[in-house]
């Protein structure tokens, strides 16, 4: 079984994002970029499937700017076998939309014929939570989103999904798309030898044109602004003082 894992290069989750004063987007200059945390978990899960003898090959793919090759190298160091970079933009501020990414992934999946596509449930930059569902739609296959547990069997997979009401367990036919939530696993740290080895693993670069996909955006981003700021209030000195404030300021207590 082949597993395809799409990964995205995003601003590191520890960075406090700054909005550019002219409303044109967020500041990316000198900002630490990392693999999207959810995607890292997807890579880890795919590598574990390989280690368990359930997967033969783990292919990682990223759609974006050439610098995205760093997150592909990270994924290779975690244990993926080969990488594909789809060079779809040159300006790091260009965010290729989920619909276009899904079309690209569909075209690659048509070629590679993975049995399982494991990906993050959302990217922590645009927070859209859509690419996996869109890919499953285009492939006409099953989807299991927000997964915290995965058991791959013959011709089907059993997935535990984190939903608003608790957990939902579903059985999906293969091939399928599984999008992972944070509690799926804890990714390993790549060892130094594996980081070295990653540099020699197969790495291909292709373009959306070669795949026949138009990546022109559908959404026009008119403006990006700071959210309304919330001011710090006051420090109270005791539970009694807190109760007094709550009685003054709210009707709920």
């Amino acid at each position: 079984m082949k597993v395809l894992v799409p990964v995205k290069r995003v601003i590191d989750y520890n960075v406090k994002v700054r909005v550019r004063p002219d409303g044109s987007g967020v500041d990316l200059a000198n900002v630490k970029m990392s693999i999207n945390p959810f995607d890292e978990i997807a890579v880890e899960e795919a590598v574990r499937l390989k280690e368990a003898g359930k997967a033969e090959e783990v292919i990682v793919i990223s759609v974006g700017v050439p610098q995205a090759q760093t997150v592909l190298r990270t994924a290779l160091a975690l244990g993926a076998d080969r990488a594909i970079l789809v060079h779809a933009a040159d300006d790091p501020h260009t965010d290729i939309e989920p619909l276009a990414v899904a079309k690209i992934l569909k075209a690659v999946a048509d070629e590679e014929k993975p049995t399982l596509i494991l990906m993050g449930k959302q990217a922590i930059d645009n927070d859209l939570n859509a690419t996996g569902q869109m890919l499953a739609a285009l492939m006409g296959c099953a989807q299991a989103t927000f997964a915290s547990g995965l058991e791959v069997g013959e011709g089907s997979a059993t997935v535990v999904r984190e939903v608003d009401g608790g957990l939902q367990v579903v059985k999906v036919g293969l091939p399928c798309v599984v999008t992972v939530d944070l509690r799926m696993n804890e990714p390993r740290y790549p060892s130094l030898p594996n980081i070295q080895r990653a540099k020699r693993k197969p790495f291909a670069t292709i373009t959306p044109e070669e795949l026949g996909v138009d990546v022109a955006p559908r959404l026009e981003i008119l403006e990006t602004v700071e959210p309304p700021e919330r001011k710090a209030g006051e420090i109270v000195n005791s539970v009694d003082e807190l109760l007094e404030k709550l009685r003054e300021e709210t009707e709920v207590v």
Partner: protein
């Protein structure tokens, strides 16, 4: 403009609050038809018909929609989507599972988790865990949207819209529901509660999390948790508040033993009043709290519960 709102149905029952809040946003877009898809959901359809501003309810009552699996429900929606300018639903795990699938099937770019409607094609949505707000315009023929319900008040009742039945679409048979693991409790829903009391890693154990629940029960609040508390097994996953959990905006949010990481703030910083109880005076949660109490939670929480 014609709007199709996907009602939030769970086990045949209407999630009235989430549906009524999304309806408020949907009404800003145009004339609203509500789709009620579920198993034995005719009661839910009648309930929706009473919401103000609903023109019509389409009821697709069929066992295959009972667990809201994305593949069959998306096919059902795609069958009628072209009649609408907007297909919208609440940004719940159910609709967020289904609607991007619909969007791709009709070649429309998904617009998730909007917090404001500017006009029929322009919307605002938070990005980067709410650290920025983006204004986007879509020219897609049918726009597919999920709504951040915490940004809207619920629409009231007093209507009696017609209910029509909608025949089920085929079942693609791609997936199968096996089981729901749901812990029942009598507390209010996290996303509709007026008060939320949340506990974090500082609470330290599943046993001591009862301090949080007791405080909540004393004031009729819902219970929430940080990701660290859920990861540590102190609280179930559906209590998680934040960028990847639920987004809440109650009248009062009490954060106990929570440091205030941006990913947690993303889910609660629009609460009207925020109270933080933390032993570390430098905890970032105090930067958004209206009232902060620097204290050991094991002393402060029982005292607070007692005196309320």
């Amino acid at each position: 403009m014609a709007v199709l709102l996907i009602a939030e149905i769970n086990g045949g029952e209407l999630s009235a609050d989430l549906t009524a809040k999304s309806l408020t946003a949907a009404r800003q877009l145009g004339d609203v038809t509500v789709l009620c898809a579920g198993a034995a959901c005719s009661g839910a359809a009648n309930e929706i018909a009473a919401f103000e501003g609903v023109s019509k309810v389409l009821c697709a009552d069929d066992p295959k929609y009972g667990n809201a699996l994305a593949e069959p429900v998306a096919d059902l929606i795609v069958g009628i989507a072209c009649e609408y300018d907007h297909v919208v639903g609440p940004a719940t795990t159910t609709a967020q599972n289904i609607l991007p699938r619909v969007a791709a099937l009709i070649d429309s770019m998904m617009i998730s988790d909007i917090s404001a409607v500017i006009d029929g094609e322009t919307f605002e949505r938070p990005i980067y865990a709410g650290n920025a707000v983006q204004r986007v315009r879509s020219r897609d023929k049918t726009k597919v949207i999920t709504i951040r319900t915490a940004a809207y008040d619920a629409t009231g009742t007093g209507n009696s819209a017609p209910v029509e039945s909608l025949s089920a679409a085929g079942d693609p048979g791609l997936s199968e529901w096996l089981e729901d693991r749901v812990a029942e409790n009598d507390r209010p829903e996290l996303t509709s509660a007026k008060i939320v009391v949340s506990g974090g890693r500082g609470v330290g154990s599943i046993e001591d999390f009862s301090l949080i629940s007791s405080l909540a029960d004393k004031i009729g609040a819902a219970v929430g948790a940080s990701r660290a508390a859920v990861d540590s097994g102190y609280a179930p996953n559906d209590w998680q508040v934040g960028q990847t959990g639920k987004v809440v905006a109650p009248d009062l949010y009490i954060a106990v033993g929570i440091s205030g990481a941006i990913q947690h703030l993303a889910g609660m910083k629009d609460s009207k009043i925020i109270v933080a109880i933390n032993k570390d005076e430098d905890a970032p949660i105090f930067q958004v709290a209206d009232f902060g109490l620097v204290a050991n939670l094991f002393e402060a929480v029982p005292e607070l519960t007692d005196k309320l």
